[in-house]
């Protein structure tokens, strides 16, 4: 049974291998970078990632760049008094000793001006710029339109 579960989890995580990569820069760990398939290139794509600050100094994500989109920006979905809106986030705090998630319903990278439609199984790179740690580039997996996140063995930690 154990072997069966192990095999099953390997099978599930296999297509999302890159999203499960971990990249570090200074005290920051960047992982679980993923995106959703788009219908055509006329609508914006989305970028999600998880950042952990293991150091003792606060940092902040201040921008993203990618060859996949002409106008990538940081946004935050805010639901206030029953109304959802999506203001521009000038910077996303990554406090010392904490993790921050860009995830559905919260902070996200908004990929406007897509150079091509994003298809499930594709991947592209995103360069994140941090206020203190500088720049780091991660590979982003395009998951299905209905995905809620990558299936990594350590997901949900």
């Amino acid at each position: 049974m154990k072997h069966f579960l192990l095999a099953a989890s390997l099978t599930l995580s296999a297509p999302a291998a890159m999203a499960c990569e971990t990249v570090t820069i200074g005290d920051l760990t960047v992982e679980h970078a993923w995106s959703k398939a788009t219908i055509g290139a006329g609508r914006p794509g989305v970028f999600y990632v998880e950042i952990t600050n293991t150091g003792s100094t606060d940092d902040a994500l201040v921008g993203i760049a990618t060859p996949a989109a002409g106008m990538p920006m940081l946004h935050e979905t805010v639901v206030q008094d029953g109304i959802a809106s999506m203001p521009h986030a000038m910077s996303i705090p990554v406090p010392a000793g904490q993790s921050v998630q860009l995830s559905p319903g919260g902070y996200h990278g908004m990929l406007m001006g897509l150079t091509t439609a994003l298809k499930e199984g594709d991947s592209f790179s995103v360069t994140l710029t941090f206020e203190k740690a500088g720049e780091v580039t991660v590979n982003v997996d395009v998951l299905s339109l209905r995905a809620e996140g990558p299936d990594c063995a350590d997901a949900g930690q």
Partner: protein, 197 residues
Amino acid sequence: MRLRSFQIILWVAATAAVVAFAAVRWWPATEDTAAAASAFTPTFALADSEGRIRTTDEFRGKFLLVFFGFTSCPDVCPTTLSEVAQVMYDLGSDAGSVQPIFISIDPERDRRLGLADYTKAFHPAILGLAGSEAETQAAAASFKIFYEREDDTSSPDGYTMAHSPGLYLLSPDGAWLRQFTYGTPAAEILSDLQSRL
């Protein structure tokens, strides 16, 4: 003595006024609310992707799951549509009793981008509707929901839409049943529907 009885009269009058005010304030309000809840029948008349006008009347006999959104919304809207899709798959043979409907609050742009391609990517049963500005406002008012265009240089085409992100359930006779707030898990929506089917 005369002053005291005058004071008593004043107190009695004041108390009566308070009681009368409370009666006016509460009784009709309660009845209004009850009446409004039972008589609340949202309606729409909006074009589908082929330009045919679809109205609430044609769906009598089915539960309606209605969501307002816009397709240039990569974060909130796909989450809700994914949940609706999951519910439709999980309903299995009962899926025919439920009609999911996506109403665009950004109709001009969504017609241009193609609404059917978008909704079908989530589930083939989801019907996308995009009317005129006036028809969309009428539908939103009828569902008592809010939406607004916001100028925003950090969004595609320089604007974005703020909107009520809930999912609304109507009964087979067209009456409002309830809303599922944004983020309600598909399993919860499914069990609510199954308890009514």
